[in-house]
Amino acid sequence: MRESWLSRNLRHHLTAWTCGALVIVVMVIFLAPFVWMIAYSVYPSTALQAGVPDLSLTNITLDSYGQLFSDPMFLGPIVNSVIVGLSTTVMCMAAGAACAYAIARFRFRGRQPLLLSMMTVQAIPVIVLAVPLFILLRSVGLYDQLLGLIVTYTAFILPLVIWMLVSFFEEIPPSLERAARIDGCNRLQIMYKIAFPLAAPGMAATAILAFITSWSDFFLAKVLTSNTAVTLPVKTAAFQGLFAMDYTSAATAGVITAIPVLVLTLVAQKWIIRGLTEGAVKG
């Protein structure tokens, strides 16, 4: 009896240790590349490209950050990205929340097909739309304009936003909205006094996802901007130019591009996962 108890205990310990070790391995694989890029941005590249990388702390320098942040050619894209990201998010949430609310609450023909076609949009390769989109935006004077990027991103991100939000709105008990009607809210007030606050966590997650998606986009920004509206990923990729490859700057730009997204993701991770899984289960 006693012996078998011991061995069972031992087995448990062994499993725990193995799993612990595995977790550490997984985390190293997941984090090391990014850490290495951070290293590239703070060490002079000569120190890292030596046979044995010289990682002494005295070598650390923030010069490349200072350099990039004092370069108007780099600051412009940062500002652009922030404006585009925020405006896209606001527009997505405004149009998306209204649409998702209607889909979740009102019965009308074509409701289900509408939701399904929203999903189908996800299947469209961006590449096919680039030329017609360019022509479209240029003909209304939105080429290389932040607004042009904003409406384009809004269109691309809206389906996902709606898809996620519908599941959040469906979760709100209809009786709450009936109560609000009795209490004297009109339909619009029900939306912004009851439904939106109640779906707030989901809406926050969705908003963050919208921001991240628009912030990270590369291809559309590449095609739809040329100079004044260039965004951060395009600028970052451009550090790989024919006459401009500069590993340190590229790494620094990479870190700068990734940081806001990282922070937002970490803050909202719980909601993001919930939003996507719930959409998955119901959609």
Binding site: A95, A98, V131, R138, G141, G241, A244, M245
Partner: protein, 442 residues
Amino acid sequence: MDTSPTMSYPISRRNLLQLGGLAAGTLALAACSTTSPQSSAGPLKTGGKPSGQINILDDNTNSVFKDSTIAAFEKQTGIKVASYQQGNFNDLHDKMATMFAAQDASFDVVMTWAGWSAEFGQAGWLQELDKTAVPSDLIQPALDAVSWRGKIYGLPKFVSVQTMFWNKDIYKKNGIDPHVAPANWDEFVKLAKKLTTGSQFGYACDMGNPAGAYQNFLRMLLICGGEMYDADYNPIFAGEAGVEGLTKLVELLQLHRVMDPASLQITNASDLADLFARGTTGIVFNWPFQYAVATAATSKLTKDSLGNGLIPGISVTSASIDGSEGFAINKYSKNKEAALAWLQFVATETVQLQIVEKEGWFPVSKSVLEAPTAVAALPVLTTYKETTRYVTKRYGTPWGNEFDQALSIQIINAMNGKTSPKDALASAQTTAQGLVKKYLKK
């Protein structure tokens, strides 16, 4: 409660207007995009006194324009340069193709080179220039870079030719006289072997992307005395010269092991320049800007430790490839005369001298090439003058992109020993024949 449409709404009126505009644009789209470019009355001539304003799209190779040329141009001609935008070279092709396809006129002047002059010229997107508008003393490769099948689609802004750069420090370390360039390919191979020790390689190149693979093969083809196409654009590169050239290139990597294997993953000339500047590579064939990179403060080399000379030949004494750039005029431009004025201004002696002195590129006109101040500022100019005695070609064609892609697959497979150079080139030549047939049918 009243739920009529008068209720305030999370979409502002301005947005609605914008959406309305989009709707209108949507309708306009079908109408505008299938029409042909408006046919102008033949090639553009210099005429009258141009005025108004122009917009210029350039790559980011030259900073001299922004620094001083534009101001000088505006002062002299009275034409205003409303915007001068610099794009990344790698992004420019897609950007320009998209713009042209949409018949966009936001840029009057666009940067071009041999490949694009052919491609966009044939597409009818570049304004053809009349012979009278072209300065008389242009160097031929410079003019080639802006021409396609006898039609001139722009004016060159600088000339670029690959020459051989070497690291004198490494030469000395390995007991080689650093002042003498190899007279032929065999000497070069011998030299490279001597320079290859440990993690140090005698030779490196950039053939990681299709254009790079094309360039490296073309260089080998030329120094073997071969040609890409005959006079009627029938591809003939898979002949003896081509096979010999590619074989020698493969040998550098596989047999002599003097080529840095990283060469196969270097996708652009600047990476190659950086690699050379790190001081562990004996020899590279690169564009003139290698001089600036190698003598920069961050480089392991200095002016004194940088050697420069002709690329050694195999069947010929020497040969090289051209990478000259120029400016062209957008076919849809509303102010072509003013655009032409800019093209001509850039080709003038004053501007060319500045490009040589400040940027390290070669000039487009013979007179500047002879100017003593130019040589003083850019020692490699001497080498360039020598290269003008030998073949320098690029073969820019409208099918360049497709061809480079197809060729590079074969070249890389040959480099990796997966096919023989002969089979590789035969296969690429078949593809090329198809492309030529497709694009040159009249």
